[in-house]
């Protein structure tokens, strides 16, 4: 959520209007399809595209929902899968919004070649290693699809044996999430 002064004005934040962080969705528009195996993906466009590829390889349908729009999400009907990338400020808003109305299935922190993903379904770290530096977001999409598909998961279903669990990367600025709101 590093908005420039001009962006702030454009989005109405600096003027204190009700306009939320993103203007990708019209008020009242559903933020994601209600059907199973469909996910709304938030975040910067390029990163989201790669994540969506991972989901679609796993047979999921995805829509690009633009930048996280926390106030809009707060108003949406329950029952949607959402995933994507957020900065620190958005993550605080998103996780606190989920209380009482959503399931935080997984959260990840990402820095180049250092990823830590935690499943809240099993309350444990999940092994995740990038296959190559360019495609890690796509791999992550696949992992998130698997985590969502296996809900409810057995305690082992979401860990890929033989892979190293990476410690939380320092200075990770990119956060990923998979939430059922």
């Amino acid at each position: 959520m590093t908005l420039s002064r001009r962006e702030l004005l454009k989005h109405g934040l600096a003027l204190g209007s009700l306009a939320p962080f993103a203007v990708g969705l019209a008020a009242g528009e559903p933020t994601a399809p209600l059907m199973a195996r469909r996910v709304a993906v938030y975040g910067p466009e390029r990163a989201s595209r790669a994540l969506r590829q991972g989901f679609s390889r796993a047979g999921w349908q995805s829509t690009f929902a633009g930048r996280l729009n926390v106030l809009e999400l707060a108003r949406s009907r329950p029952g949607y899968w959402i995933a994507g990338f957020a900065d620190d400020a958005e993550l605080v808003l998103l996780t606190s919004l989920a209380a009482g109305r959503g399931r935080i299935v997984a959260l990840g922190r990402h820095a180049p070649q250092a990823h830590s993903v935690r499943s809240w379904k099993t309350n444990s770290p999940v092994s995740f290693q990038e296959s190559n530096p360019r495609d890690w977001r796509r791999d992550l999409g696949g992992l998130y699809a698997a985590l969502a598909d296996h809900t409810p998961l057995s305690p082992h279903a979401d860990t890929r044996p033989g892979q190293r669990v990476v410690a939380a990367p320092r200075d990770a600025r990119e956060h990923s999430f998979l939430i059922r709101v």
Partner: protein, 518 residues
């Protein structure tokens, strides 16, 4: 989840907890009793430098009616299950929506969100705990009432009940929230319901207009406390003034804080400036919309040269005052002249309003919104300053006296500097006091940095206490320590009241350092 992984309330067997859970389900319905870890995850998200394992709830209950709260409290007494009530659960930086201790059950009242009454004549509201500022704002807009709210910075997503119960503040003339609260409905630990103030009189017409009622005034007992669960609250709303002028005053140098406070005090006490004014330090001012890495990439405390560069690059002051005038255009003009004269004397201040203020500061827009009670989330940008999700508000109270403010600033900067953290701070100016709000931002993912932040916060409390400065509110990790500052006699009274009202200690044990004797 394996049985052995379960978090149980302290001293409660798995079998008893299962029985209690079944009874909770009978009261609120199965869907409103949350026990899965992905459902409970949002209630474990901490920003303070405590151990995650110390703040894990055993369950969360979503209640919607006072009778349900009463029934829950009775079940808790029967099984010895402690509950931690939250209203909208956005106590970010003070414990978020997490329990005070592992094993407590969260009693989440976010779905108890009826706006029972808004009276546009006497300018009052009666609301339930789950009502957010946004919901109340929308209601007032739709009804076309000329009333303003007074939100804290997380505005839209937080709520008047939870904020007032933690004695939070906003930025209009109604900024000291507990001062503008009037009447409560409270479920006591034994399950009885009490209405405070005038509310005990059947069909009372003055519950929301006369605070004191008859006999001892008890509303304060239910703030920052664990003596009851508030299920309704009255508050006063500000009539929208005919005119409004937010303004900005910038001062260039660290020592200017003394001059600012000396000029500000009489203006605030006499109500020439009527609102809860903010005096924001450079770093807070810029952190709401830019990350630290735009200016400085090193570890440790941001150096003075970098602060000076921020000031010149961004065109902001060392101290940035956000205040406003309210009233008729004529009243505003008179007071504006007084203010300009007062702040112009030394020649150090730059004074702006309107478009010039917008241009001068990337924070003016959001400050102007908050000072007129509008919803805005820009201040969450503070979390991108350093990143890493760690934040603790260190919030000592200062007298509105220049020397004292300077002393507090120097002391805080010295201690934060020793531990390698930045002074991201503001003063919120009350009538005679100021809340010195320092956001201790750190990387919570880095164990060493987390430890350091913990030590730093402890030292801040200790060193401030030595100079006679106490904090107005704190996070759940430091509640016992903060209570210590205020002395044993006060703690004894708190404990005596706890024992009398809540002998089984079921409501929020540990809140403000208060526990019963058992």
């Amino acid at each position: 989840m394996k049985q052995s992984d379960r978090t149980l309330p302290p001293g409660v067997s798995a079998a008893d907890f299962d029985s209690a859970l079944q009874k909770f389900k009978d009261v609120v319905g199965g869907d409103n009793v949350l026990i899965d870890s992905d459902h409970l995850a949002p209630y474990t998200k901490l920003m303070m430098a405590g151990h995650d394992r110390d703040y894990i709830p055993s369950a969360a209950l979503l209640a919607t009616r006072t009778e349900q709260v009463q029934a829950i409290v009775k079940i808790c007494n029967e099984y010895g299950v402690p509950i931690w009530p939250i209203s909208t659960g956005k106590n970010l930086g003070y414990g978020s929506a997490a329990p005070g201790e592992t094993g407590q059950v969260m009693l989440d009242l976010r779905n108890m969100d009826q706006i029972i009454d808004v009276d546009p004549e006497v300018c009052t509201a009666l609301i339930e705990p789950g009502v957010t500022y946004q919901k109340l704002y929308d209601y007032i807009q739709e009804a076309g009432y000329k009333l303003w709210l007074d939100p804290p910075a997380p505005s839209a997503i937080a709520g008047p009940v939870g904020n007032t119960l933690d004695r939070g503040v906003g930025y209009t003339p109604y900024g000291e929230h507990f001062m503008f609260q009037c009447g409560m409905e409270v479920v006591l630990p034994n399950g009885e319901v009490v209405r405070t103030g005038m509310g005990g009189i059947p069909n009372s017409t003055s519950w929301q207009v006369f605070k004191w009622g008859y006999g001892p005034y008890i509303d304060g007992l239910f703030t920052q406390s664990n003596y009851g669960i508030v299920t309704k609250m009255g508050l006063w709303l500000m009539p929208a003034p005919p005119a409004y002028r937010p303004f900005l005053i910038q001062y260039p140098d660290p020592e200017d804080i003394e001059e600012i406070v000396e000029i500000m005090r009489p203006l605030r006490i006499s109500q020439v400036i009527p609102n809860a004014v903010v005096i924001a330090h450079t770093l807070w001012d810029v952190a709401s919309h830019k990350p630290r890495s735009d200016f400085y990439d090193g570890d440790g405390t941001i150096p003075r040269e970098a602060i000076d560069k921020i000031k010149s690059d961004e065109g902001i002051g060392e101290w940035n005052i956000y205040a406003a005038l309210y009233g008729t255009p004529e009243q505003i003009e008179v007071n504006w002249n007084i203010i300009q004269q007062a702040f112009s004397k030394s020649g150090k201040a730059k004074i702006f309003h309107g478009e010039a203020a917008e241009k001068a500061s990337g924070s003016f827009g959001y400050r102007a919104a908050l000072m007129k009670g509008e919803m805005n989330l820009q201040e969450f940008g503070l979390y991108n300053w350093r990143g890493g999700g760690g934040s603790m508000w260190f919030a000592p109270v200062s007298q509105a006296k220049g020397k004292e403010t300077r002393d507090q600033t120097d002391l805080a900067q010295e201690i934060l500097g020793k531990y390698g953290f930045d002074y991201v701070a503001e003063y919120i100016v009350g009538w005679r006091d100021m809340h010195h709000i320092i956001d201790l931002l750190y990387d919570r993912q880095d164990p060493e940095e987390k430890e350091r932040a913990h030590a730093c916060f402890a030292e801040l409390i200790g060193e401030f206490e030595k100079r006679g400065y106490g904090i107005y509110r704190t996070n759940i990790e430091f509640m016992d320590r903060a209570a210590q500052s205020f002395g044993e006699p006060l703690r004894n009274i708190h404990r005596t009241i706890k024992d009398a009202l809540d002998p089984n200690g079921i409501i929020a044990p540990g809140k403000s350092g208060i526990r019963g004797s058992v």
